[in-house]
């Protein structure tokens, strides 16, 4: 049993790459499949994921990404049809893999008949755009946090920090546990990290991995 996931991302463009970066920061193993030479070389410079260069619908290429060992495949290219094809092919080759497809219109929920989850990045993007346009004092989290990750993390049963009061856990610098177990109070030194409960935690990207190790095991 390992708590880190083995994830394949098809499409290393804007969405695919950002997603890979966040996942790699959290300590997961990411492999990206990307066709475009230039993008492949950009990703290699960032050194966050192994890159397989080629067409993600080609079974030969998906296999090279280590499909038989992967927990999740996320098809995040700009073409809905291609994404569905990649997910279906992957599910055919490895039946218990979790599949996530990026779609390009609202109401694409019906696709969940074929894949485990759908993503519609434009919706999140338009929320951010609306916030910017109004320029209001109240903004959604996704917008204001910049590089910070503000996350709701559920403490795993066998995690090193499980059952310990906050004062007893030495988090890396750049971590802030914001809420207590029920999200009703701000966390204090004597707040217990109860296994199974979720906590709002603000984390800098550099130490997300380590915070995950402490809270998720």
């Amino acid at each position: 049993m390992t708590s880190d996931l083995d994830i394949i991302i098809a499409g290393g463009g804007r969405v695919g790459f950002q997603t890979a970066e966040i996942l790699a920061d959290r300590g997961h193993d990411v492999t990206i499949i990307e066709r475009d030479d230039r993008i492949v070389s950009d990703i290699a410079d960032q050194w966050i994921a192994t890159v397989i260069q080629g067409d993600a619908t080609n079974p030969d290429i998906i296999e090279q990404a280590g499909l038989e060992r992967a927990d999740v495949i996320a098809a995040l290219t700009g073409e809905t049809g291609l994404n569905l094809a990649v997910c279906l092919a992957a599910a055919e080759l490895t039946p218990d893999i979790r599949t996530v497809a990026r779609i390009d219109r609202t109401g694409g929920e019906s696709y969940t008949r074929f894949v485990d989850a759908v993503v519609f990045p434009e919706r999140a993007g338009s929320r951010v755009a609306a916030n910017e346009i109004i320029g209001s004092d109240v903004q959604t989290l996704a917008d204001v946090t910049g590089n910070l990750d503000i996350m709701l993390i559920r403490v795993a049963d066998d995690a090193p920090a499980a059952g310990k009061p906050l004062s007893n856990v030495r988090f890396p610098e750049g971590t802030l546990v914001v809420s207590d177990a029920n999200g009703e109070r701000i966390a204090r030194a004597d707040t217990i990290l109860t296994p199974g409960s979720s906590y709002v935690v603000a984390v800098e990207p550099a130490v997300v991995d380590e915070v995950m190790h402490l809270m998720r095991g």
């Binding site: 390992t2 290699a44 050194w47 192994t50 856990v169 030495r170 988090f171 890396p172 130490v207 190790h213």
Partner: protein
């Protein structure tokens, strides 16, 4: 702030830091501890031994560079092999590498002890090391040898330090390495200028009894001195622009290390003579230094003390590096579910892979009881074997994943990994044959470790399957309610 204590995360490392981590491990203790032992086997050809080892290891260096640039994962050889091979093969790789580092730890601790005694001797605190042994003889029956105790205490101290605080950052390592190299440069400079060196006698190059063939077992013994670049690839995630800097760091550190080694060994053999070096054993370089360095200096009194200090300092920092390296290998194996999950967890209070460090400490402390030469042999044996696997991994990865992006591709593929495999296997064979003749205990212990590994692997697999079944059973019971 949420009123809990914090620690700073490690800084980003540049090319210089990455190179220094590699050099720090390679120039660490090998040169101080193993030169005497190599001279004992190969005579003045010890110079040749280190040069040839540099060549052998360069082929595997190419493989490491290619793997590190294309697989963005820290964790060194184990992480790469894990990516490519099935469960059992990658487990054995990790298991061997873990052992290689732990035994290297014992070796450095054993090298630390006589050098530390020599340092005390230089300042007149204790009689010369050989007499310390003699004085202690009547006591040994009841108590433990002093050197063994010192080695034990050194391991214990560094393990405790690493267990409760996060590793020293790369910049500290850089300073340490610069100190070590400077001390060696001073050694070489004084050695070349000394009258003893002008009358140096490198003939006969090979020992009369065994001839040129003596070079091979000596290569096997000292191979461990070049294991440092595995260490560079265990910290890759912290290095800036790794696709360029990791291959560069590997090659630069290897090249500089070989040059330093050759200079130091040449001076040591030239001044003290191969026989003198051999007699001094683990404290060979330190003894050579005391023989030609100027005396009567202010504060340090004796120029030799500087080199002896370098030896003590090097063995300690190298010991520290392998305590970290061995626990990282165990930690990655724990995270991958290949050892007990608790080994793959960081401690909630110390933020260190606490259990992984303790597990490594047990083996290290146990191995301090070994003779230095056995520790060197066993560690070299396991590095040779794991380097063979790393070279195989490169070939397999090229065949199975031809479309994988490789920011660094080695020249003249497939020659380098094939030559690497052949040379590493040759040295393994020579070493095993040599061990059969001279040190069957080391060989038996090595076999025992591999057998133990196989046992652990299958036992853990059983436990995992059982808990998977129980979970599956529990899941099917809950499902009807959960779907309501």
């Amino acid at each position: 702030m949420s009123k809990s204590q914090t620690r700073s995360p490690e800084a980003e490392l540049g090319l210089l830091d990455a190179t220094m981590i590699g050099m720090g491990a390679m120039i660490g203790a090998g040169i101080f501890v193993l030169t005497g032992l190599a001279a004992e086997i190969a005579g003045p050809a010890a110079i040749l031994v280190f040069a040839l080892n540099g060549v052998v290891t360069a082929f595997t260096g190419l493989s490491y560079a290619e793997l590190a640039a294309s697989i963005p994962k820290s964790g060194g050889g184990y992480a790469f092999v894990r990516e490519i091979f099935d469960d059992f093969a990658s487990f054995i790789m990790g298991w061997m590498l873990w052992f290689a580092y732990m035994i290297a730890g014992a070796l450095y601790a054993l090298g630390f002890a006589p050098n530390f005694l020599e340092l005390l001797h230089v300042y007149g605190v204790v009689p010369p090391p050989d007499q310390v042994g003699a004085v202690a003889v009547p006591v040994i029956d009841a108590a433990l040898p002093l050197a063994f105790l010192l080695a034990f205490v050194a391991v214990l101290g560094l393990v405790a330090l690493n267990a409760v605080s996060t590793a020293a950052s790369g910049s500290v390592e850089t300073i340490f390495t610069i100190i070590k190299v400077s001390i060696l440069v001073v050694f070489v400079a004084f050695g070349l200028a000394s009258p003893m060196f002008s009358g140096a006698e490198f003939q006969p190059l090979f020992p009369q009894s065994s001839g040129a063939a003596a070079v091979l077992p000596a290569m096997g013994l000292t191979f461990i001195a070049f294991e440092g670049y595995d260490l560079i690839t265990t910290v890759t995630e912290e290095v800036q622009n790794p696709r360029e800097n990791i291959p560069k760091a590997i090659f630069i550190s290897l090249a500089v290390t070989v040059v330093v080694y050759l200079a130091v060994v040449t001076v040591a053999v030239g001044t003290l003579g191969a026989q003198g070096l051999a007699d001094a054993g683990e404290a060979g370089i330190a003894t050579a230094a005391t023989s030609f360095m100027p005396t009567g200096l202010p504060i340090i009194q004796n120029g030799g003390a500087l080199i002896v200090f370098g030896a003590v300092f090097s063995t300690l920092t190298a010991l520290n590096a392998v305590v970290i390296a061995s626990s990282r290998v165990a930690f990655s194996m724990g995270r991958e579910g290949q050892l007990l999950p608790s080994i793959g967890q960081i401690h909630h209070r110390y933020g260190t892979p606490f259990v992984a460090i303790l597990a490594s400490a047990v083996v290290m402390l146990g191995s301090v009881a070994l003779p230095t030469q056995s520790a060197g042999n066993m560690s070299s044996l396991f590095f040779l074997l794991s380097f063979v696997i790393v070279n195989v991994a490169v070939i397999r990865l090229r065949r199975e994943r031809p479309n994988m992006n490789r920011p660094y591709e080695m020249p003249f593929y497939p020659a380098p990994p094939l030559i690497g495999i052949a040379l590493n296997l040759l040295l393994t064979g020579v070493l095993v044959e040599y061990l059969l003749r001279t040190d069957p205990l080391a060989l038996a212990l090595s076999m025992a470790w591999i057998l133990l590994g196989a046992l652990v692997y299958f036992a853990l697999k059983r436990v995992r399957e059982q808990s998977d079944r129980e979970q599956a059973a529990a899941a099917t019971e809950i499902t009807p309610e959960a779907e309501d």
